[in-house]
Symmetry: D4
């Protein structure tokens, strides 16, 4: 049976990835994600390859090291989920979404109502747009098993 590869991109300051994993327990899925330890992610380049006096190159070395992981895993994913949180610029999340779209990946975008207008181009490239991690778990359950959440479904009819 096929194992679905799901890449979880975006916000790293809340536990949304754990929510999805819990909701998807039992499904034949393999989740992957960027390194979510913020400090390690920022400093990995200089820690391993030597300090830089210029902040630009400090960041550059780290960002490229992280790209080894993120690009490889995005290319291998069947589905790329990108969550935009409440704070920060999150341009890397939008960048990942652009890569996923160009690679023809199935794209699921998660964000709150506040970001709707600003994310319209990103949403337009997605096959699903929702606001809660629990909905992502429901989407995976439906897409992979063909099962809809019974309670919700009854309510919707």
């Amino acid at each position: 049976m096929k194992t679905w590869n799901i890449y979880l991109s975006g916000e790293i300051h809340t536990d949304w990835r754990d929510e999805i994993k819990a909701g998807a327990s039992g499904l034949p899925v393999a989740f992957s994600a960027p390194v979510t330890d913020h400090d390690a992610s920022d400093d990995c380049g200089v820690v391993i390859m030597g300090a830089e006096s210029d902040k630009f190159w400090h960041d550059h070395k780290g960002a490229k090291l992280n790209a080894i992981r993120t690009r490889t895993l995005i290319e291998e994913a069947d589905i790329v989920v990108v969550r935009f949180g409440e704070k920060y610029k999150q341009w890397n999340a939008a960048f990942d979404a652009g890569m996923a779209a160009a690679l023809g990946k199935a794209l699921i975008i998660v964000h709150g109502a506040d970001h709707q207008h600003a994310l319209k181009e990103v949403d337009a490239a997605a096959l699903a747009v929702c606001s809660e991690p629990s909905q992502v778990a429901q989407i995976l359950t439906y897409v992979i098993e063909g099962q809809l959440p019974t309670a919700t479904r009854a309510a919707a009819e």
Copy 2:
């Protein structure tokens, strides 16, 4: 040993998929298909992501959710089988056939004699055209194991 991925697209109101699976029992194959629960397939989008007052968007949300499944599985398939039944427009079946053709998949089309002229462009892109699910099982047996159905073969000689 290679497992052949076979995607079974098209008609969802008869048990043709089961016929093929029964006839192909013992072969190293993994079958996949769209969600064949008609109601779930129609309503999945709004059930998970919220109701829509406009039928177009109700359908749109569902169709995109289903596309996460169907496009992923078609891209992964070695062989795409598309069956056109007696009823309905079945444009999604022809659409799947077009995708499979553009992706270079081996395409098997199944339909009755009535549809022959109307399906000529679709048939022209296929590597096999037949009318019965049992023939699909025979094709898979031959393609994968090199074995022809003995009874039928004797009769044909």
Copy 3:
């Protein structure tokens, strides 16, 4: 300046292609389309390569000859417009849409309200869905020149 290649697929019994061409006059576009002479399209194979006693092969030879034209032009198109008319099965139109989608072409679907539900999977792969050829001309004008139809726009504000 870039010339945009626009392939006009689908219905061949009305003059919708002429309407679009008229509405797009002055734009840097090159339109292409299948052979729209129904009889020629049906018989081209046997006329050139010899008669067939079996209707299936009669159609097969013709459909493949037409595919030389249609696949080449679809692959070269920037935008593929597919119109579904009121009549006939039009599976070749849906097949073309599937090819265009798999090839990553920008897809515009044109159909009346009656076909909305049956075409939902095709519509879900499109970047625009409309009902009138004049809207296609407006879309091309906007996409290429950035100009919206002034009358309509005023009315919408």
Copy 4:
């Protein structure tokens, strides 16, 4: 002689595109860009294809129409320049950068020092990062003609 296709993505509220074009006058280049009329860009979908009561679908229709233009032109570009301005979320700019990176385009990012850390992943995918449109013109002049700006060069030696 080759004409270089340059796509200018991002900020639409300053005249940075004109600065680049002026600085690159005489080069064999063809510039392209998204529609930079903000209102037209926001409303194009509903103006042409009919009003929507829900803001999400209003934006969705427009964003997809704009995608016909932007994706086609990005795919055709040799070089994609993305400028991040001082204001707004600009997720569409980061999304374009991600698409360009995945498509293997040469990427030039333009932004002020304030955005350096937040754009580190985007910068890491670029072949050049600078802060002024005049530098983009100098880059194009060097890349295409092999000529460096003489005044600046003397100063740097």
Copy 5:
């Protein structure tokens, strides 16, 4: 208007290419072909890059030089026509057909009835199979202009 690139592969001892060109005069086509001077084709490698004592390497150097031309032109073709003549092994013709098929080119095969069974796998990959160069000219005329040969057509009705 699109210029169709037509590559004429195969037999080099008859004037079939000229027949097609004559029959296609007036069409927007650009024909290309391998070097058809048999001696030059055999000896080009050693003439330019130095003699070889071993026939294998003599041929190898020449075959690779010819491949610079043939592979480039096949990749650029819209339509690849391969003619199998009455004599010789013609494995290079079948090899070209295989390349064209794998590259997704529209393939037209020309051969006499004698070769029908031996060429069945090659024919199965083609969009048209015929026996006369004049038929190729008719196919090109139909595919590009939509015009069928009137005399023949009348006879066929």
Copy 6:
């Protein structure tokens, strides 16, 4: 550990495939091949999908059915070995070689000295050309394990 997929194309009337398999026993390889039962291969189409009065279509149906197997396996192969025997036209072998070359597969050609000149274009696309199946086994052993045949090697020094 990687399993190498090796497709063995060409001659079906001698036991060369068994020789290679015996010589490669113990290597992490998975061999695949066309159906080598000549009669089954010729008749498979009509046996399963119905008789044809015209030999062309009889062969056509069979050749396409075989293509489902051969194209799928060639696309999945790491290495494609093509053997040209002493007899027959063997155009399908050259066709397979052309497909493999266009797909970027590592190509090994096996043939006797008689065919050297006629196969020069095919050989020119190969990474190895030899005359005996035992050499193919030695090539696989070297390529995968880095081991050269000791006896032969001593003799060559």
Copy 7:
């Protein structure tokens, strides 16, 4: 869990590959490399396929045989590590780096300070540049597990 494929290209006269493997023990990785037995690598072609009097063809046969291994493994790699040692021209190392870059592989370059200027174009295509095999092991540990070397990290803070 994903197994990362790591190809180790370049220098074959020191034990740098073993250093990386030791440092990466416990990670879900599969390492591959060219044949590192220098004599076997030089002579493989003639040992298996027959002696050549001309050194060019002696080397040519061997280089192509090695290419069966190296190209297949590079295409399958997630990460390509290329080490430039102190001696020799090492053009094959730079060639492998060029292939890896064109194929979109994540590229890690290892070399001493002496080679910095001469390798600037190669380094510019890499996602990481370092000088010690132990750093490659640290990079792999970080990329795959998200763990930085604690001792080094403390020192860097």
Copy 8:
């Protein structure tokens, strides 16, 4: 008529490019090359985008800027010619050859006898290997026009 795009990579300290251009005068070719002004090529990055105190980043900025030109032109080339001169490491030349090979370009390598063994892997990926620029001009003349140099040819017979 097709214009052939020829990229001339490698050595920048002799006038070999001019020799080829002179020998190819009259052919439908468009030559391209890296920036051959050594100083400009080294300093372009810092001249335009600001000085760097660290030589690595000085070179890095320049190498990436040059990559905008070289990668774009290599991708557009039909034929890539790479010349290895007598001096320097020339790893960028080997890197370009690797990129060209992976992109499926027709590759011509030019070098003296001294480099034969060290370049064997690069030569093995080429369709022609020669030592003089005049031979490249002869190759282009043959490949494009089918004409062999008459004097040389007479001598070789």
